[in-house]
Subunit: 225 residues, 2 copies
């Protein structure tokens, strides 16, 4: 049983959502040989206000040292631990089209404790193919596989039309955390955690800045004419 | 020239980052036939505090009506307009492995004004193949293609080792907005907007909740023994 006091505390969802961002920035700093960082520097690298950052981190019990800031490695480990990334999370990917293949071979998962243990697709042309050392199986094998492999997280990478049925089958097999990449929302029991990934989110943020830049350019042109 | 007053206002990065999330939730509400929504309902569906939501939306000049809230369609259009999604954004994808293929055929882009106009890969086995009606070309054709097609956004979907060179080539070809899916950061000129997508972010948030759930389960078990 975990004796971690932070797990008993309430960490707001908005804070949880920012933790992967903090962790990513800390990893980048560590890669560049930075060993300590002030809350202002870290906040600015992440793109949040430093008061927000300090509040978020204090909820994890992490307080920087005045005049020194945070130790990069220590803070990264602390956030990893709170996020549960120091544990092992067996993951199944359902739908082995291009996106499924890309996810199954994505190197960013393994480094964070996400171990892809099962791949499913009903296309006979795909069944048996190995991706990253894991063979694709027919989806009917999900229930037995889920209990054998203790699958914790199911990733839906099917076309939109199949997403709901796959979600229901995952829940029936005892998978309580679902990451949905299909461009369709799914409805499942309230105690199941479903997160939907929209690959266009970051493009939308880029478009906002590009639009402002083009507006500024047009303004300069208009003024200089 | 745009006469849109909101483009002249400063919208903080943190607000911009939440706008795609608001828009996604509004689209889901509209799909379910909801025509108006209170700030509390919308905030709770998105997972932010309602004071935060009202503050964010007031920066766009959108104020809900007391006792009615926000009109779903109007607010969605307003956010789309601020994000620049009512314009047309020509996009190029570089690296046509599994992820590039998945992105090139991702239906979520087209509906938001992102038009994939060019695909690049140097693998002779891929050059000439059509994905979504666009033929894959050798990367050497980027400069001419970028100006002909007025490419606004470049998406890097190459392996980590190629990301930096591809980023530099995109900038040299005049592409000022880059979305980097490669598991490596790239360094380019400061006036270029680079966003990096880490596909494991949402998995990390799921892991946090799964860890809490398993802790609660262990606690119940321990108490009942």
């Amino acid at each position: 049983m975990s004796a971690d006091p932070v797990l008993r505390r309430d960490v707001p969802d908005a804070t949880v959502a920012r933790l992967p961002e903090y962790l990513r920035t800390l990893s980048r700093l560590a890669e560049h040989g930075v060993s300590s960082v002030s809350s202002e520097e870290l906040a600015s690298a992440v793109g949040v206000r430093s008061a927000q950052l300090r509040k978020d981190l204090s909820r994890l019990g992490s307080y920087g040292v005045r005049g020194v800031g945070y130790e990069v490695d220590t803070l990264a480990l602390e956030i990893s631990r709170v996020l549960g990334l120091t544990r092992d999370w067996p993951v199944a990917v359902v739908g082995m089209g291009n996106l499924g293949h890309a996810l199954a071979s994505y190197s960013g998962f393994a480094t964070k404790g996400f171990r892809i243990v099962a791949l499913f697709d009903d296309d006979p042309a795909l069944v048996g193919e190995e991706v990253g050392g894991v063979a694709i199986r027919p989806f009917a094998e999900l229930p037995s596989c889920a209990s054998e492999q203790r699958i914790a997280i199911g990733v839906i990478a099917t076309p939109a039309a199949a997403a709901q049925a796959v979600g229901e089958a995952l829940v029936a097999a005892g998978v309580m955390s679902i990451l949905n990449f299909a461009p369709a929302s799914i409805a499942v029991r309230g105690d199941v955690d479903v997160r939907r990934v929209d690959l266009s989110t970051e493009l939308q943020i880029l478009a906002f800045h590009a639009q402002r830049r083009s507006y500024a350019g047009e303004l300069t042109e208009a003024v200089s004419q």
